[in-house]
């Protein structure tokens, strides 16, 4: 079982990401996927202590706490210092992307991205890291095709 935190202020973009990650085929490869949604930085901060997470997907351009500030915060916390993190944003300023990466994001997906691109990126990041352990059960079927 993998837990993913999606931070994005647009409800339909969140629904898009959820649909991709919870699609049966993808979820099955990862022993099930649970998506938690945060609609702003504060929501995310409220959900972070409920971790650990196997993957964090965040937008940049949000009201109040922007995504960069959130990444900064996430990386300072011992629990989430190494959680794989993807930026999804259509900010054209490369500066913002560079800053996000400098702050410790592992990947960047420019909007618009296809379901396939999102799937590949998440697949790779999840494949590179072992499950966060919270929900891994002994009797679980072996994962197939992880990291493909």
């Amino acid at each position: 079982m993998r837990r993913v935190l999606v931070v994005e202020d647009s409800v339909s973009a969140r629904a898009f990401v959820r649909a991709v990650l919870e699609a049966p085929e993808f979820a099955a490869r990862h022993g099930g996927v649970t998506v938690l949604e945060a609609s702003c930085g504060f929501d995310a901060m409220r959900l972070l202590p409920r971790g650990p997470y196997d993957l964090i997907v965040t937008d940049i351009n949000m009201a109040d706490i922007n995504g960069l500030e959130l990444i900064h915060f996430i990386r300072k916390s011992a629990h989430h210092a190494t959680t794989p993190l993807v930026i999804i944003s259509s900010l054209r300023g490369e500066q913002d992307v560079d800053r996000g990466i400098a702050l410790g994001a592992n990947a960047y997906l420019g909007k618009p991205f296809t379901a396939e691109q999102l799937r590949e990126t998440c697949e790779r990041l999840l494949g590179e890291s072992p499950p966060s352990g919270l929900a891994a059960r002994p009797g679980e079927p072996a994962k197939s095709g992880s990291g493909s």
Partner: protein, 721 residues
């Protein structure tokens, strides 16, 4: 592009519906923000926060539309974003002309969304024109200025978390010589949203918040410390007075002195580039469709008004969860009643109880069921209700656009925007109201010079007001324009063959005004010679009638015109009077029933081959529904008259029996009977009987103004007895 975006491939229709709903909300919000910007501009101000809100809305729309494969919208948003970026980064100024472009974009967004939903054509040509105009407006970046940021004692790490926009605001504040403040505050995570809103509100008069930086290690999971960077003209003491809270620390960010140990003048970008190199990037940073090729300037024509629709593509109603909780509770109560009925029926079958006791118990349950059902109905109706402000906001945009197009100054006054009405009615209402407003500005409100000449205030006033009146909502559209000249109307109606001169001579003043709602009538010859484009008032009247509403008009030459629309609050459940005609049941919506009286044969007269009854000294035209519907007349001794009122017109329907009042769910008659006039639908009465629901407005129209005899009908009292 986002070919096969999850909207289709992975998420299915539900996700796509979510997209439409959110996109529509964003577009509506965008329109509101633009109106606020327009208002600020009229007062010589530019609201930077608002500009940023507009940017963010377009930015989100761009991301979403690309994600869901609505490429036209993504392309338009991309170009708009460039211009808005210029605006918020200070490379462009907000002007009325620029706002025109942005308002056009809002209108086009709505049409693109409608086209995506299969309603209408995509306005390709207009999008191209707007793209061109936007392309010519946007300024390409000219490089970032230093702005003297390095003189301030700011944590270098701060620049790592500023977005480009926030950095711009910081630089521009410093360039304007504003002071910088650092506000440290600790919030409980549970209440941070509202607490922060309060802080923002008290800080706003004194400056602009540049960024929020969450600090702390995250060790304490319940509270969070924020470091807020703010720029303003106030002194630190003023700010401390304004933001008084126990957990706040405010200090001014000092300028570095020359002897500062930190290497001054190091640009922020450099600080960042020392950080770790990118680990991975996939996808293109910006793969929105290329902008339209720049061509020589083309005169952009505005969207043809007649094609425009204000209807939103979203049929979603957002509901406060507490309302649903209440409904859920009622469902629980109903389940209890159901259990009791089951138990009762078991007892009845076993013949274990006294029939009288059973009957009493059943009666009690029935009352309880009724009460909960009524609550349920009320609750569901409440969920369907939305404030009229939703449509008024859109109309405000139209007022701005039309008045600018026509070069007229119009002040819009809106009251009663919080009046609630069924969501479906709101959607259907926007277009008719838009046409009325267009007519008012186009034909009624005079130009500045003319207004001054006749001694009116130079700026015209258009008032939109709404209020609830019983089960109805009344909406008034009132202008202080030239008013309608009855002579002009009559002349135009005769010229267009709507009435003959002889018929016209017999018309009452009210009937003369009503001529403007006739098909084929145009005011072109009456008022101004402006556009003559647009939809006639007859369409407005028909569309309002479809919603069960009526339109009334009042006008005084030289003073103004007021059109009043009266609508039922909802179409879902209606209260009716059940009547029997020739052994069949019919339902008359109670909203249009004035009273029901016994038919007094001695008071009947025939006037112009029409039956008229004298009621309390006034004559009332009556209609025998059995004859109208071709039913065998019954010969019962006693008959009744149900007096219906539509707007100001009254008509009595003769019925055999009055059965009683009932709340009914009205159902459409279906495709094959769609063309039948006079019936609004049908309803099931629960005992397997069906009643037809009378369309009172249509019947009144049919009976009082049939065919060529229209407007020759009955005149109040004058010719009765």
């Amino acid at each position: 592009m986002a070919e096969g975006g999850g909207g289709r491939g992975d998420g299915g229709d539900k996700v796509r519906d979510e997209f439409f709903s959110e996109a529509q909300e964003l577009v509506d919000g965008l329109g509101r923000d633009l109106l606020a910007l327009d208002d600020a501009l009229k007062h010589g101000r530019t609201d930077v926060e608002l500009v940023n809100d507009v940017f963010r809305a377009v930015h989100t729309l761009k991301g979403l539309s690309a994600l869901f494969g609505v490429t036209r919208m993504a392309g338009l948003s991309h170009e708009l974003e460039e211009v808005l970026d210029d605006l918020r980064l200070g490379r462009l100024e907000v002007t009325a002309t620029l706002l025109d472009l942005l308002f056009r974009a809002v209108a086009l967004y709505s049409r693109i969304l409608a086209a995506e939903k299969g309603d209408g054509e995509e306005p390709s040509a207009e999008i191209e024109q707007l793209l061109l105009a936007l392309g010519q407006t946007s300024q390409r970046p000219t490089g970032r200025g230093g702005g003297g940021v390095a003189q301030y004692d700011l944590d270098p790490a701060l620049f790592g978390v500023l977005t480009e926009y926030e950095e711009h605001r910081l630089r521009s504040s410093i360039q304007q010589g504003l002071s910088l403040f650092r506000i440290r505050v600790r919030f409980s995570l549970a209440t941070i949203d509202s607490a922060l809103d309060e802080l923002k509100a008290s800080a706003r008069p004194h400056g602009e918040i540049i960024t929020y930086l969450p600090s702390g290690s995250g060790a304490d999971v319940d509270t969070i410390e924020l470091e807020i960077l703010m720029a303003g003209r106030a002194t630190v003491d003023v700010l401390r007075g304004a933001i008084a809270a126990p957990n706040v620390a405010i200090e001014e960010v000092r300028r570095r002195t020359a002897s500062s140990s930190q290497p001054a003048g190091r640009p922020a970008e450099q600080l960042v580039s020392q950080a770790a190199p990118p680990l991975a990037t996939s996808g293109a940073a910006s793969s929105a469709p290329p902008a339209a090729p720049r061509q020589p300037p083309a005169v952009a024509t505005r969207a043809d008004a007649a094609e425009m629709s204000l209807r939103s593509v979203s049929q979603t109603v957002r509901v406060d969860i507490r309302k649903l909780d209440r409904l859920m509770t009622i469902v629980g109560e109903l389940a209890i009643v159901k259990t009791a009925i089951t138990r009762l029926s078991e007892r009845a079958r076993a013949r274990a109880a006294d029939p009288r006791e059973l009957a009493m118990e059943l009666q009690r349950l029935n009352r309880s069921f009724d009460r909960h059902l009524a609550q349920m109905q009320g609750g569901i109706l409440e969920v369907r209700m939305v404030p009229l402000g939703q449509v008024f906001d859109k109309l405000a945009r139209i007022v701005r656009q039309i008045s600018r197009d026509l070069g007229k100054e119009v002040n819009l006054v809106v009251t009663g925007a919080d009046t609630e009405i069924d969501k479906l009615i709101v959607e259907e209402l926007s277009d008719p109201l838009m046409h009325m407003i267009r007519n008012a500005i186009d034909h009624a409100i005079e130009g500045r010079a003319e207004r001054l000449r006749v001694g009116k205030p130079p700026v015209g006033t258009l008032a939109l007001n709404a209020f609830q009146k019983g089960n109805h909502v009344v909406i008034g559209v009132e202008d202080d324009g030239a008013g309608m000249d009855p002579k002009g109307i009559v002349a135009a109606a005769i010229r267009r063959g709507i009435v003959t001169a002889q018929e016209a001579a017999e018309l009452s003043p009210r009937d003369v005004l009503a001529l403007v709602f006739m098909p084929g009538f145009t005011t072109r010859d009456v008022a101004t010679d402006t556009s003559g484009r647009g939809v006639g008032l007859d369409v407005v009247k028909t569309n309002i009638a479809k919603l069960g509403g009526v339109v009334d008009i009042a006008s005084d030459v030289g003073i103004g015109t007021k059109i009043t629309v009266t609508l039922p609050i909802t179409l879902a459940i209606i209260n009716v009077l059940l009547v029997e005609i020739a052994g069949r049941l019919f339902a008359v919506p109670l909203a249009s029933v004035d009273e029901a009286i016994q038919l007094d044969a001695s008071q009947l007269r025939a006037v112009d081959s029409r039956e008229v009854m004298t009621v309390r000294g006034a004559s009332l035209p009556i209609c025998r529904l059995d004859r109208l519907f071709g039913l065998a007349p019954s010969h019962g001794a006693r008959k009744y008259v149900v007096i219906a009122q539509v707007g100001t017109r009254r008509l009595g329907f003769v019925v055999d029996e009055i059965v009683g009042q009932r709340d009914i769910v009205i159902k459409a008659l279906g495709q094959s009977l769609k063309g039948v006039r006079g019936f609004a639908g049908a309803t099931e009465l629960g005992d397997q009987r069906v009643a037809l629901v009378l369309d009172v407005a249509a019947l009144v129209e049919e009976v009082l103004s049939p065919g060529e005899a229209r407007f020759l009908g009955w005149q109040p009292a004058a010719r009765g007895a």
